[in-house]
């Protein structure tokens, strides 16, 4: 009985840092954001921010954030899946994987500035187009450059989980599918893809959620031609100092993210 109680005590003691962390850095900030969202710009308690969120300006912004985040995730997935598959077939897979991950060690801003140089009117991309006889195009400050750079930044996070789940796939299952007369496409559709769906899901989550609130790239690469919820939050906190409105947008982002997490997780149980 004594030992049992002591065990319980130490267990609680170990739990303490975790709980403290969660309370201080997860629950408290969310509550603060929620609290600030109920104040208008002059510090009066009101629901005006929520009312404002449902005006065409912010709804349009929410829609375009979703649309760009969707495009970024979809394109990342289309490139990442075959790449991850190929990687599992190579001899030194860990080395190849490392080479893909290395760029994510470099600071995001540094990469963005590099792309300003590459995509600029006199940059490398346009000299190449000139060489091909196509002539200079505007690449910087377009939807294309924004999506390209975002995909470039997020793709390691998509490849990694897909690679892991492909790597864990039992090769005897493929042999079995083959023996039973399944074509390559059927094997992929009925065996490989369903078994790696978890990797795809966590890859999509890891890409979609941050893509929804991207903000620096919208100015540096898209020249503020793309306005996302993230841009707007940044502006409300730093420029307008309308913390209430900034918090309200953040509250909606949190709700959207929770919904996405819940939806993708319940499907997992269904499979």
């Amino acid at each position: 009985m004594w030992i049992q109680m002591e065990n319980k005590l130490t267990k609680n003691l170990y739990l303490f840092p975790y709980l403290l962390w969660i309370a201080l850095f997860v629950i408290a900030p969310i509550l603060l954001v929620l609290y600030y969202s109920f104040f208008d710009i002059e510090g009066n308690l009101s629901l005006i921010n929520y009312q404002k969120f449902f005006t065409p300006v912010y709804l349009k912004m929410t829609f375009s954030s979703f649309w760009y985040a969707f495009l970024i995730t979809a394109i990342s997935l289309l490139i990442a899946y075959p790449t991850a598959y190929l990687l599992t077939k190579t001899k030194h897979k860990q080395l190849w994987l490392l080479l893909i991950i290395v760029p994510s060690w470099i600071n995001l801003l540094l990469k963005a500035y590099a792309f300003i140089g590459i995509f600029g009117t006199y940059g490398a991309a346009n000299s190449f187009l000139n060489l091909m006889g196509i002539g200079s195009q505007q690449i910087l400050f377009t939807d294309f450059s924004f999506i390209f750079v975002s995909v470039y930044i997020f793709i390691p996070f998509m490849i990694l989980p897909i690679f892991n789940s492909l790597n864990e796939l039992n090769p005897t299952l493929l042999d079995a599918a083959n023996d039973l007369g399944a074509s390559k496409w059927t094997t992929f559709r009925r065996v490989i893809f369903p078994l790696t769906i978890d990797g795809v899901k966590s890859g999509c989550q890891v890409v979609f959620i941050p893509a929804l609130s991207l903000f620096m790239l919208t100015r540096l690469i898209a020249g503020n031609r793309v306005i996302t919820l993230g841009t707007s939050i940044e502006q409300h906190f730093l420029v307008t100092q309308d913390w209430g409105m900034g918090s309200t947008i953040a509250v909606f982002l949190i709700i959207i993210m929770v919904v996405i997490m819940v939806v993708t997780n319940t499907r997992k149980r269904g499979v």
Binding site: I41, E42, V57, K60, M61, I116, G120, T121, Y122, Q138, L140, F141, R219, L220, A222, G223, N224, R225, I227, S232, Q235, H236, L238, V239, T240, Q241, D242, M245
Partner: protein, 357 residues
């Protein structure tokens, strides 16, 4: 476990050595005693020879630190960790700091050189009676354009930007006051207008500019214009003079309808410990010869009337940076419009940004 302990020990040791080095460096340079002056200024915003001259004349050691935005400076002064004796904020920030009681009043009897400052730049709305601040440099908001890329076309008016020939050629600063101000000025309204109808009219006028706007960017605008990424840009005069020295094809104009007039000003923040020395330094910087030398180095416009006499004619007579009295009358300082109006400016600016081509 042993390895982990050793790892932390090494880091602790390294920190101790660095800390010791810093403190011994500070004492060897004479930064320890009470005879110092800590200045907090924008990067590359003073001729460092003048600091040496001041140290020689007064025997006061100067510690010079820099910031890159008014907001960053405000945060540091609010926290009060470092005892800054002098800071150089812009006018709208002075209004804010004044209301938050972050500034100490100046003793004008200790600033005899104040008489050299042009009366036009004294007693302005952000600090009536110059109780807290003395102008350091001033400038305008205007248009930088590339003569070569525009085939010699001259821009003189805000409305020239709406020229269909400039399609996809304009870079704008990512600032609500600057861009909305451009819209208001182009319609003949004041930069500080708060009438809803005028603001909406300005925003709608700006919407028609979108086919010409290539991008709305931050500080990168200097690099992009110098590299000829676009031929026209909305910039502050200080940035303009900087990039014009990098690219000779660039020219700067303050549009004839009027524009913004801004100031960076010397103040003594609440954190100050060496108030006597701070006054000495401000007075030193107001000396006409010193101001002239500093202006030539920095390249912004000086408010010191007497200093103009010690400067080369081609700088003083350059109407791009020292606009004629007629144009100066049309320049306005940004008033502090209050949070609510500012939020409305930003809301309209956001809508303008979202207006697709």
């Amino acid at each position: 476990m042993n390895k982990l302990v050793r790892f932390f020990l090494i880091i602790a040791l390294a920190s101790a050595v660095l800390l010791f080095t810093i403190s011994s460096l500070n004492t060897s340079q004479g930064y320890s005693g009470g005879n110092t002056l800590t200045i907090y200024n924008w990067g590359d915003y003073i001729d460092e020879d003048l600091i040496k001259q001041f140290e020689k004349e007064t025997g006061i050691k100067v510690i010079y630190e820099t910031f890159d935005s008014n907001e960053a400076m405000l945060t540091k002064i609010q926290q009060g960790g470092t005892t800054y004796d002098i800071a150089v904020p812009s006018e709208y920030m002075i209004d804010k700091m004044r209301h938050e009681n972050l500034l100490l009043p100046l003793d004008q009897t200790k600033l005899p050189n104040l008489k050299y400052i042009d009366k036009r730049f004294m007693d302005l709305s952000f600090d009536p009676g110059n109780k807290y601040s003395i102008p350091y440099f001033w400038g305008t908001v205007g248009i930088v354009y590339n003569k070569k890329m525009l085939n010699g076309k001259n821009l003189t008016s805000w409305n020239d930007l709406w020229d269909p020939e400039l399609q996809n050629e304009i870079l704008l600063l990512d600032g609500a006051r600057e861009v909305m101000g451009m819209g208001l000025n182009s319609l003949g309204y004041s930069l500080n207008d708060t009438k809803q109808a005028h603001l909406i009219a300005a925003k709608e006028k700006l919407d028609t500019l979108t086919p010409n706007v290539k991008a709305i960017v931050g500080d990168e605008i200097k690099m992009l214009l110098a590299n000829e990424e676009a031929s026209v840009g909305l910039v502050w005069s200080g940035d303009a003079s900087e990039i014009m020295s990098e690219n000779e094809d660039l020219d700067y104009v303050v549009p004839k309808e009027g524009s913004n007039l801004w100031f960076d000003n010397m103040v003594i923040p609440k954190t100050a410990k060496h108030i006597e020395a701070a006054h000495k330094f401000i007075n030193f910087m107001l000396d006409p010869k010193v101001a002239a030398q500093n202006t030539e180095y920095v390249g912004y416009s000086t408010p010191n009337k007497q200093a103009l006499k010690y400067m080369p004619k081609e700088i003083v007579n350059d109407e791009r940076f020292y606009p004629s009295p007629a144009l100066t009358k049309k320049l306005e300082v940004y008033d502090n419009l209050g949070k609510k109006n500012l939020a409305y400016y930003n809301e309209l600016f956001l809508q303008f940004k979202m207006h697709t081509k």
